[in-house]
Symmetry: C2
Subunit: 288 residues, 2 copies
Amino acid sequence: MTDFATWIATQKDRTEAALGRLLPRSDEAPATLHAAIRHSMFAGGKRLRPILLLAACEACGGDTEKALPAACAVECIHTYSLIHDDLPCMDDDDFRRGHPTCHKVYGEAIAVLAGDALQPLAFELLLQSGGAELVKELAVAAGSKFLIAGQVLDLEGEERQISFDELRTIHEGKTAALLTCCFRLGGLIADASPQSMEALTTFGYNLGLAFQVIDDILDCTQSSEKLGKTAGKDAASGKSTYVSILSLEKARDEAARLTNEAHAAIAPLGQSASRLREIADHLLARDY
Amino acid sequence: MTDFATWIATQKDRTEAALGRLLPRSDEAPATLHAAIRHSMFAGGKRLRPILLLAACEACGGDTEKALPAACAVECIHTYSLIHDDLPCMDDDDFRRGHPTCHKVYGEAIAVLAGDALQPLAFELLLQSGGAELVKELAVAAGSKFLIAGQVLDLEGEERQISFDELRTIHEGKTAALLTCCFRLGGLIADASPQSMEALTTFGYNLGLAFQVIDDILDCTQSSEKLGKTAGKDAASGKSTYVSILSLEKARDEAARLTNEAHAAIAPLGQSASRLREIADHLLARDY
């Protein structure tokens, strides 16, 4: 088996090549819009969601070439949510991953529209990897009860002290739902068994929450330079995080617990899930 | 055949009942978001797009009951585009159809998210009326080269004098693409022949442009009260319209010409297209 770092780099490269091919070119009309979309799509993302989708597809014996458009689709949804999240009326962020945000470069109106355009593009791309069952999966995860619900509760939570359960609900929506969706899409494209689909779902949910706990930890332990975005922003704005609600030490324990749950979920998949295990280790082993 | 006014009222009622049933309830979490969605979805719309979809389905011998979720889906796309179009960073409108706009009631952040949530909801609903071919159709029409392209060109056109061809390109994107999509979705759900699909496409395109020419005319000839939105806004802002580019008289001629093209397109469909003819007459016979 290819070593993990090489495998990750390969999937990232494949995803970026596919994005380069599948996204509208910057010289296609309307050029400003397509340039804005490419600005945000190629602003140094880790391509975590596409990689998760490809890993799940591979773990279930599927053809990852067929899964590439779907991998691009989930990155479109993720990027649209970041573009809108960064808007002045939302989190009002000037930088993300060390790059100026979409509205800083192209103005707010184009940023709203660039985000808007990425949603139908995602569904169009998805159809290159499969049919209606993929659309249903992504539509629910990106919809008002998951991805958007997380954003709404996050906004509402800024105004008051929230509980641990409320925080978890926010992150189930903002992060875990889309990550779980990535694993499930990969499984569906590979025509995975119901047992494998259930394993991927539990794995994705726990990994997604673990990932978010770690992001909260990193926000208060790392420098802006290392993060590629403004650090310490959560604490400065008095926003509730796993760290502020649980303490740093207990947040670290929670991240470890969730990762253990994730590992337990895919134990029945045996050897075929070893990439998924490596991914879980990789995400938890970030320097927090 | 039921008389036209009764038929229209029936389709509008059916659409609103279906929307009431199919949209998330206002008490489902996150309640603020779902209330904002319902605020804009039930703010006095004419339900033109759903009615067009149902008419096309009926004209092609399809089951309009099966088409109802798709009819709701196109209304979701239309409403999301209005919510975002009304934002302060876009057209900055306080009222639409006599009701306060979404961001005036719920704030900008929730308005952005309510619009965002309506897109995946549209694709989810669409799947209750059919499969991947419907998703492809709506994803393209709502995407960066049609609906959004129209918005972008419209924004860019505010800053300078634009040509007749540029204006037509704006309205092809902003209006004609989605109306054409409605007719095509209705045809696809009815399993229409390729000839019928082509007739519906040409019909929709011409009707869509005609509809927009008339909107431009009404903006400068009618009162705000009658329009249910601020009248004369285009002229006041120096925005290019069919009227400002062509003159009022020539804009009226253009509307009539486009409607004739629309009628010619569906002539081969004979008697089965009589509702579509009534719709074209109805839209052109608005008091302009």
